[in-house]
Amino acid sequence: MAKTAELLPGTLDMLILKAVSLKPLHGYGVLLRIRQISRDALEIPQGSLYPALYRLEHHDLIAAEWGQSENNRRAKYYTLTAAGRRRLRDETAGWNRLASAIAVALSTTSEEV
C-alpha cells in the first residue's frame, strides 16, 4: 500500500464536494471515491465522514435523497447543489493559490534570497 498522508483540517469538506460533484454517491461511495481519486494517498477518518456530510447537507451545499444501491440496498445518495458547486469552485481556486504559493516558497534556494 502506498504511503498515506494525513488530511489537513478543512480539506475533508472540499474532498467530499469534489467526490459528489463527479456523480451522486452514498456515504460509503464518497469514501471509496476519495480514496480512488487521491490514488489511495489520503487517509480518510471514517468517523468524521458522516458528521461532515450532515454538516454540508445542513448548509445546503449537498442534497440527500434515498435511492437504490448497486446491490439493491436502500442508500442515501448525495448530490452537489448549486451553492455546493460555487463553494467547490472557490475552494479549489483558493487551494491552488495556497498550494502554488507554498510550493514556490519551499522551492526557494539560498541563491535566490
Partner: protein, 889 residues
C-alpha cells in the same frame, strides 16, 4: 440563515425519520466495508473488528451528526425543560405563588397597555396619519379656550396656507333617518367636499361630495358608512342613486365608505354635505365658530407644525387688519392653534393613562422583586446540589441556561395566565365605561397585544435569570461542598440584595398607595361638589326637530309648547321644562352678551357666557335655587317679554356692588337697540355646566325660550317616580305629537353627573386595585425574606437561647431589622411619592400634590400590613427550641 432554520425545522418535524435514516446509513456503511474487507481476504471476525476500529462508535458519530444539524441544542433544551418542570412540580407552593404573582402583575400591565395601545399608540386609520392636524380658534382672555372654527375661516384658508395640502371642516350631528313610522335617530357628520381627500380615505363605491353640493338647495346627497350600508341596504352594490329620507327630506345616496373608515371616536353612520349660505361665509362671521364646526388639515410632506402655525398666524394678522372688531378680538387673546389631530383628540386622558401604566409597571416591579427573592431563596437551598453537578462537569453555560429555561418557563406560563387576566381586565374596563373615552371603542384584546405579551414574558424570564445565575456562579465550589447546611453560605452581598429588594418594594407600594390616595381623594372631592341644582328625580332627553317639517321658529315653538302641555299631566310629573342644552350634556357653547353700562377695563375683554333659552318650568324641574327676583315663567315666553335671568356668577361679575335685578343687557357682542335689551328679573344660583370639576364659573344667562328657539333642545322632567321609569312615557308623548321624532340620550341628571366622572372614577378604582395588590405582594415579600432570615439563623438563635437569650430579645432583633427596612422603604417612598405627585398635578382636583394626610395614611397602612407579615416569622424565631436547633444536622 433562513435555509438553515428551514432544514432544522424539516428535521424536527420528521425526527423519527432522521434518526432511522442515520442508523440505516451507518449500518449500510458498516456492512459494505466489512464485505469489502472480507472480499479482500480477511476473515469475517477480523473484518468486523477493523471496521469498528476505523469507523469508531456509531453513537458518537450520530451525536456529531445531530450536532451538525443543531438538533443537540433542542435536545438539551427539552432535557432542561423537563428538569425545570420536575423541579417546579416538587414545590407547588412556590410555583403557585410565582405564577399567580406574574399573572396578576402581567394582567394589570396588559390591561392598561391595551388602552394605551389603542388610544395613544395605534395610529389613526388613515394614510400617513402623522400629517393630519386640527386647527381651532381660542380666546383665552375671554374665557373661551376652544371655539372650533368658523365657515369663514374655512373659506379664507382653503388653498391659501402653503403648509397644508388640503383643509376641511366637519360638524357632528344626529339626524332622523328613515321612512315615516320607522324612523331612527343616527349619528351623522356634515363635512366639506375635501373632508375625505384630506383624510386620504374616501368612498369605495360612488364618489365624494362636490363643491356644488354645499348649498342648502343642492345638498340632497348622502354618503353611507359601511355598517349602515350593510345593515340597511344589505350591502346592495346598486345602492348608488337610491333615495334615503334624512330629516324628512329625500337625499340621493352617492357613495359608500370602506369598513375601516372611522373618524376619531365618531360613530357616524351617515355623511352629509356641510351646506351653508354665502352670508355665513363673510368676514363678519369669522369669529362665529361656537365650537360647532371643527377644522382638519393635512400637512404638506416635510412641512412642520411650526411652519403651518406661523402661516396661519400671518394670515390671521392680515385678515384682522380690517376687522371692525379687531381690538376686541385681540384683547380676547385670539389665536388659531394648529395641533396634531390624534394627540389633540386624546390630550385629556393621555396623562392619566401614562400614570396608570406607570402604576402597573410599579406593580410589575414589586412582583418581579418578590419573584427574584423567592428564586434566590430556592437557589440557596440548592447550592449543594448545584456544586456537586458543577464538580461533575456541568459548565457555566449549562448552569446559566438551566436558570434561564426555568425562569422563562415560569414567566411564559404566568404570562399566559396573565393574558387571561388581561382579557378579563379589558372586559372590566368596558363595564367601567372606558369605551366612552376618546378612541376607547378601539380597545380590544388582539393578536398584537398577545405578541407584545409573549415578547415581554420572554424578556422578563431572561431578566429574572440574571441575579439567579449570578448567585449560582459566584459561589466557590469547595465552600459549598464543605459547608454542612444551607445556612452556611449566605454572603453579605446576597443578604444586601435581599434587603434592598424589600426596601424598594416598600417604597414602590408606598408610592402606589399615595398615588391612589390622591386620585381617590380627588374623586371624592369632585363628587362632593354640588352641581348647583337638585340632580335627583330629574329625567332629561334630547329632541331634534327635522328642518323640513319644522323650518322656522313658530313651528318649533309650537312643538315645544305642545310637548309641555302633554308632559305636565303625566302621572308622577311635578315640573317639566325645555332648554337648548342641559348641564352635563357633553355639549358646551358660549356666546357673548353685552351689559348696559359695563365698560371694558384695559386688560379685560368681552366674555363668553353660557346662554340658554328656557321654556316651561325649567328652573323648577331642575331644582335651581333662586337668589333674588323671580324665575322665568311660561308667560314670559308666550308674551315675548324681553326679560332674562342670570346666575350669581354673572351677577357678581357685572354688578359687583349692586343688585343685578333691573340690569339691562343685549344678546351679542355689541350694544344693540334700546328696545332689544333684556331686563334682568331674577338671579339664580351658579350651576356647573360642563362638569363637577369645572373650576372657573363663566356665568350663564337664561332667556325666555321664544328668543332662542333652535331645532335641537332638551326636555327636563322632575318626577316623584324613579326618573328612568318615565322614559317610555316621555317617548310615547313625543311620538303622539310627531311619530317621526325620537327622544335621544334619555338619562337622569344623576346618571349624567356620574357619567361625567368616568375619567376620574376608573383611574381611581384601578389605582386602588393596584395598590391593594402591591400591598399583598409586599406582605408576601417581607414575609418570605424574614422567614428565610430566621431559618438561616436557626442554629445561631438556638445557640444564643441556650446561652440565655430571652425570646423577647430574639423577636425584638427581627422586629428591629424589619423596622430598619421599613424606614428605608418609606423614606424612598416619600421621595418617590413627591415626584409622582408632581407629575400627577394636572389630573388632581382640589388636592394639593403633597398631602400629609394621605402620606400618613399610606405610611400607616404599609406599616401595619408589613408588620403583620413580619410578626409571624419573628415570633417563630422566638419559639425556636435550642435543643432542636442545635441537634439538627
Amino acid at each position: 440563515m433562513l435555509k438553515r432554520f428551514r432544514s432544522l425545522f424539516r428535521v424536527l418535524t420528521r425526527r423519527r425519520e432522521f434518526e432511522d435514516g442515520m442508523t440505516e446509513e451507518l449500518s449500510f456503511h458498516i456492512e459494505q466495508y466489512t464485505d469489502d474487507l472480507v472480499r479482500s481476504g480477511m476473515s469475517r471476525e477480523e473484518a468486523a473488528r477493523v471496521t469498528r476500529r476505523e469507523l469508531g462508535s456509531p453513537i458518537n458519530i450520530k451525536a456529531d451528526c445531530r450536532q451538525a444539524f443543531g438538533i443537540h441544542l433542542l435536545d438539551e433544551l427539552r432535557r432542561q425543560l423537563s428538569y425545570a418542570i420536575r423541579l417546579l412540580r416538587k414545590s407547588p407552593g412556590f410555583t403557585a405563588t410565582a405564577l399567580l404573582t406574574i399573572a396578576v402583575c402581567f394582567g394589570a400591565n396588559l390591561t392598561i397597555f391595551a388602552v394605551i395601545d389603542s388610544v395613544l399608540l395605534r395610529p389613526l386609520p388613515f394614510p400617513e396619519p402623522g400629517r393630519l392636524t386640527t386647527i381651532f380658534n381660542t380666546y383665552p382672555k375671554a374665557g373661551v379656550e376652544r371655539d372650533g372654527s368658523s365657515l369663514t375661516n374655512y373659506y379664507e384658508r382653503r388653498g391659501n396656507v402653503p403648509a397644508f395640502t388640503s383643509l376641511a371642516i366637519y360638524r357632528y350631528g344626529t339626524e332622523i333617518v328613515g321612512e315615516p313610522g320607522s324612523t331612527e335617530r343616527d349619528q351623522t357628520m356634515r363635512v366639506s367636499p375635501d373632508f375625505f381627500s384630506t383624510l386620504g380615505l374616501g368612498p369605495v363605491i360612488g364618489r365624494s361630495f362636490t363643491e356644488e353640493e354645499t348649498t342648502s338647495e343642492t345638498d340632497h346627497v348622502a354618503i353611507l358608512s359601511d355598517t349602515f350600508w350593510r345593515q340597511r341596504y344589505n350591502a346592495d352594490s346598486n345602492v348608488i342613486g337610491k333615495q334615503i329620507r334624512v330629516n324628512s327630506v329625500p337625499r340621493t345616496v352617492i357613495g359608500v365608505l370602506p369598513p375601516a373608515f372611522r373618524f376619531l371616536s365618531s360613530d357616524a353612520q351617515l355623511f352629509l354635505p356641510l351646506a351653508s349660505r354665502p352670508e355665513d361665509r363673510t368676514p363678519s362671521q369669522r369669529h362665529a365658530g361656537g365650537n360647532v364646526i371643527q377644522m382638519i388639515a393635512r400637512l404638506q410632506p416635510g412641512a412642520t407644525l411650526a411652519q403651518a402655525q406661523s402661516e396661519i398666524d400671518a394670515q390671521n394678522a392680515s385678515l384682522e387688519a380690517d376687522d371692525p372688531q379687531a381690538k376686541m378680538i385681540a384683547d380676547a387673546g385670539f389665536r388659531s392653534l394648529v395641533v396634531p389631530l390624534h394627540a389633540d383628540h386624546v390630550v385629556a386622558i393621555r396623562l392619566t393613562l401614562l400614570l396608570l401604566q406607570a402604576g402597573a409597571m410599579a406593580l410589575l416591579l414589586i412582583g418581579a422583586v418578590n419573584l427574584v427573592n423567592l428564586l434566590l431563596v430556592r437557589a440557596s437551598g440548592r447550592v449543594k446540589e448545584l456544586a456537586v453537578r458543577q464538580a461533575l462537569g456541568a459548565g457555566r453555560g449549562y448552569v446559566v441556561s438551566e436558570v434561564v429555561v426555568e425562569t422563562t418557563l415560569l414567566t411564559l406560563v404566568g404570562g399566559l395566565l396573565g393574558l387571561v387576566i388581561g382579557a378579563g381586565g379589558i372586559h372590566l374596563l368596558g363595564m367601567l365605561g372606558v369605551d366612552r373615552l376618546p378612541l376607547g371603542s378601539r380597545i380590544a384584546f388582539d393578536g398584537r397585544l398577545a405578541l407584545v405579551a409573549l415578547l415581554a414574558a420572554i424578556i422578563m424570564g431572561i431578566v429574572f435569570a440574571v441575579p439567579i445565575a449570578w448567585f449560582n456562579l459566584r459561589r466557590h465550589l469547595g465552600n459549598a461542598l464543605q459547608s454542612e447546611s444551607r445556612s452556611g453560605t449566605s454572603g453579605r452581598a446576597t443578604q444586601f440584595l435581599r434587603h434592598s429588594f424589600i426596601v424598594s418594594q416598600i417604597a414602590l407600594a408606598f408610592m402606589l398607595l399615595a398615588g391612589a390616595g390622591l386620585l381617590g381623594l380627588s374623586l371624592l372631592r369632585a363628587m362632593a361638589v354640588s352641581p348647583g341644582f337638585q340632580s335627583d328625580h330629574v329625567l332629561t332627553g334630547h329632541i331634534l326637530l327635522p328642518w323640513a317639517d319644522y323650518p322656522d321658529g313658530p313651528s318649533r315653538l309650537a312643538f315645544a309648547e305642545k310637548l309641555m302641555d302633554k308632559v305636565g299631566p303625566l302621572p308622577g310629573v311635578l315640573y317639566a321644562g325645555v332648554v337648548n342644552n342641559v348641564p352635563f350634556s357633553g355639549k358646551t357653547g358660549k356666546s357673548a352678551a353685552t351689559v348696559l353700562g359695563h365698560i371694558l377695563r384695559p386688560s379685560e375683554s368681552a366674555r363668553g357666557h353660557y346662554s340658554y333659552g328656557v321654556g316651561g318650568d325649567y328652573f323648577h324641574a331642575m331644582g335651581f335655587s333662586l337668589r333674588s327676583g323671580r324665575f322665568l315663567t311660561a308667560d314670559d315666553s308666550a308674551g315675548s317679554t324681553r326679560v332674562c335671568v342670570v346666575d350669581e356668577d354673572f351677577a357678581r361679575y357685572y354688578w359687583p356692588n349692586a343688585s343685578a335685578i333691573g340690569g339691562r343687557l343685549w344678546d351679542g357682542s355689541e350694544v344693540g337697540k334700546d328696545n332689544e335689551a333684556f331686563t334682568v328679573v331674577g338671579v339664580v344660583g351658579g350651576v356647573k355646566q360642563a362638569g363637577l370639576t369645572e373650576d372657573y364659573a363663566q356665568g350663564a344667562i337664561y332667556y325666555p325660550y321664544v328668543f332662542r328657539i333652535e331645532d335641537s333642545f332638551f326636555v327636563a322632567v322632575h318626577t316623584t317616580l324613579p326618573p328612568e321609569s318615565l322614559g317610555l312615557a316621555l317617548q310615547r308623548v313625543v311620538r303622539q305629537i310627531d311619530p317621526d321624532i325620537p327622544v335621544n340620550d334619555l338619562r337622569s341628571m344623576e346618571t349624567r353627573i356620574a357619567d361625567s366622572l368616568v375619567a376620574r372614577r376608573s383611574p381611581a378604582l384601578l389605582a386602588g386595585l393596584f395598590s391593594g395588590i402591591a400591598l399583598l405582594l409586599t406582605a408576601i415579600g417581607t414575609y418570605g425574606v424574614l422567614s428565610y432570615a430566621v431559618a438561616q439563623r436557626r442554629r445561631e438563635i438556638g445557640l444564643r437561647m441556650a446561652l440565655g437569650a430571652q425570646p423577647g430579645h430574639i423577636r425584638g432583633q427581627f422586629l428591629y431589622l424589619f423596622l430598619r427596612l421599613l424606614a428605608g422603604g418609606v423614606l424612598l417612598g416619600v421621595i418617590g411619592a413627591w415626584l409622582t405627585s408632581q407629575a400627577m398635578q394636572a389630573v388632581l382636583f382640589h388636592v394639593p400634590p403633597f398631602n400629609l394626610a394621605i402620606l400618613t395614611s399610606a405610611l400607616c397602612i404599609i406599616a401595619l400590613v408589613s408588620l403583620a407579615a413580619c410578626l409571624l416569622p419573628s415570633s417563630r424565631a422566638a419559639r425556636i427550641s435550642p435543643m432542636d436547633a442545635l441537634a439538627e444536622e
